[in-house]
Symmetry: C2
Subunit: 400 residues, 2 copies
């Protein structure tokens, strides 16, 4: 018997209990042990809930129960999740979490405590919801020198961008609809400003390259400036706009960023639509592999946490390996990366645009009071110098 | 120090040595041990080869060397690979392989021997080349009841179909070009007749549902009958044709088949082109996840074998769990599955076609001596009864 305690009985926490109970036979078989939910920690009571009798309010009761082997932390936020997780690991109880904020801030420290206490700190659900991505990096791409990670990491913004593209609707209207449907939070800032994707690319990059990418140093731009006009140009180009988290490690240096990008149909992430996520990982031997699925949602996220529970149960008394070293990964300036840019300017005189940018590919989207064009390949610094000569309405980077 | 012997110094075997040597620091770090290639078994000599000194001709030398922990079997075919693998496992040496023929025939038996001798039989490279798919099923989708597996599992046929679609070329011409480029074998039967995909879907289905799907019982149809005319209709439809291996488990029964299918752009496998593979796995909690990458090739395949080597090295003295039971999975008749069909008939009189099929969607591809149409949803048995009333030129199933 392996006893589990679930911290936080909200969406993910109740999903964890549901996945374990619904698929109990499968879970037990794969864990080679009987997995039992012994406690649910929450400040609230849940009168009438099927698992009401498991609810406790005092974490000490869980921590001091030596029969509890595994903690599922589904509280979100840094505190008290950090203290609760740390105290569990110090007692040799493994912790499985969906909490990307906490992992991005304290991941390497908690991993080190887990190693010292022969237990595990696992966080498959913190990135890509139900998509297996952390474990493939840690256990499958092991012989690879990972060179790049590029992902559609936030379902809310991908839903909004897909709707804007398909229906020609305004950003504000689509956001409102997404909020009504529960796809976007009432306070949507973390999603639409790219903060959520930023934490996720920081976690993936830390695992991919082995040392800590500080999310606060990752250049981050959201989708709030994307307009229906941008999508008019995309239609002409046969392209689309996706919010990407990306990082590349080349020749000892590494850069990371989150921003909306123009993608063409030849890009493997082009067709990742709606609330789906997709993550592309490039290894030096393997080339590109991609992982795709539901990046959020109660049951997919809970399923990923339960897969971690099973991994912990298979490894009671030993620490599941994770190669994320607390040493800081120096980030180079993403402004040095060379790419093409999609630019909209107020100028309508092509000669003036070419004075600034040299040869460009003008796109006719039927807009008469501005010009949209694609530049040649250049670094961002060079782009900025050229763009300063014109009145830029908007700019999007192109990922090829 | 963990010593490895590589059996077969052909494309995959030499790739295994290359991946270990090129990425030695990464491999050692992830294995938490020094991984050394001690022997290469081949009938040939390799004068001038960098690793010539490791080549031996007698398997007994490897088998009787107690310092050899892990065998990489890259010989292909059932014998002597089967005997060599079995004898290694009986001595407690783990075996990692890319050999789908052997895994499809003797997988559950070799897994059982590995379990009894506290070592592992791993075969990540046997399906999907470098794409992590076996380990995600065994270690990540663990809480899921898997309901369906659908994959583009053969790079050669996907390359041929992509070329036919993009260039409007004949099947024969594209096959010849693929053979010249080394993408297709001189004897291409295993690929083009679907036999390769059949073994792969049998392996994936056995892992997904837990009991043995006998590849000989899987209905298998290749791509040799696909013509440029079929792609003319696809262009009108905005659809494409892919060779799919698929299996579905519903209500206790299970069916599996390999055949070319019509896919629309909304299907996640629609955009998997050229030599790439893509595998879609549906779980009852998680919904669809997809895995994409290079399905063949020296280094991607070798990388998958080396990831298995690392997994074995991390688990010396214990057997890595795999849930593939020797009990036979009963397969239900794929003819009972309901779907739409794309049909071409010699008849050009719509009334006659509707007499047989009822309401159909006729597709105008500019061909005057035949009619192409899409049926309503029906099972294959029903389709056959209706089709018997007409002169069918070709039929393709539609996967939605």
């Amino acid at each position: 018997m392996v006893n589990v305690a679930v911290l936080g009985y909200g969406t993910v926490g109740s999903g964890i209990v549901e996945v374990i109970k619904e698929n109990q036979d499968m879970v037990n078989q794969k864990a080679a042990a009987e997995i039992d939910v012994k406690y649910i920690l929450d400040l609230r009571d849940f009168p009438g809930d099927k698992y009401e009798h498991l609810v406790v309010h005092d974490y000490e009761q869980i921590l001091s129960d030596d029969s509890v082997d595994i903690i599922c932390e589904a509280m979100g936020g840094v505190e008290p999740a950090y203290t609760f997780s740390k105290n569990a690991l110090l007692k040799g109880k493994s912790v499985c979490t969906s909490n990307k904020e906490l992992v991005a801030v304290h991941g390497p420290e908690l991993l080190e405590i887990a190693r010292q206490h022969n237990c595990s700190y696992l966080f498959e659900a913190s990135v890509g919801g139900g998509i297996p991505i952390i474990r493939p990096i840690n256990s499958s791409l092991t012989p690879e020198k990972i060179e790049a990670v590029t992902g559609i990491l936030n379902g809310t913004t991908n839903y909004i961008l897909t709707k804007m593209e398909k229906e020609g609707s305004d950003y504000e209207a689509v956001l409102k609809e997404a909020q009504e449907k529960g796809y976007a939070e009432r306070n949507p800032e973390a999603d639409i400003e790219g903060y959520d994707a930023c934490r996720k690319i920081a976690i993936l990059s830390s695992l991919a390259y082995g040392s800590t990418v500080n999310y606060e140093e990752v250049y981050t731009e959201g989708i709030t400036k994307i307009s229906t006009k941008d999508f008019k140009y995309m239609k002409e180009l046969g392209a689309t706009i996706k919010l990407l988290g990306m990082s590349k490690a080349e020749g000892g240096s590494c850069y990371a960023m989150v921003a909306p990008f123009v993608l063409f149909p030849s890009h493997p992430l082009y067709s990742v639509s709606d609330v789906f996520n997709g993550i592309l990982v490039r290894g030096n031997m393997l080339g590109d592999t991609m992982y795709y699925g539901r990046g959020a949602g109660k049951l997919p996220t809970a399923s990923a946490v339960v897969s971690d529970v099973i991994e912990c149960a298979r490894n009671i008394g030993r620490s599941v390996p994770c190669f994320w070293n607390p040493e800081k990964q120096a980030l180079s300036d993403a402004a040095d990366v060379k790419r093409r840019f999609f630019v909209r300017v107020s100028e309508t005189d092509k000669a003036k645009i070419e004075d600034a940018f040299g040869s460009v590919e003008v796109i006719d989207a039927g807009l008469t009071d501005e010009t949209g064009f694609i530049t040649e390949v250049m670094c961002e610094k060079e782009y900025k110098e050229k763009a300063a000569q014109l009145t830029v309405v908007s700019m999007l980077r192109i990922e090829e």
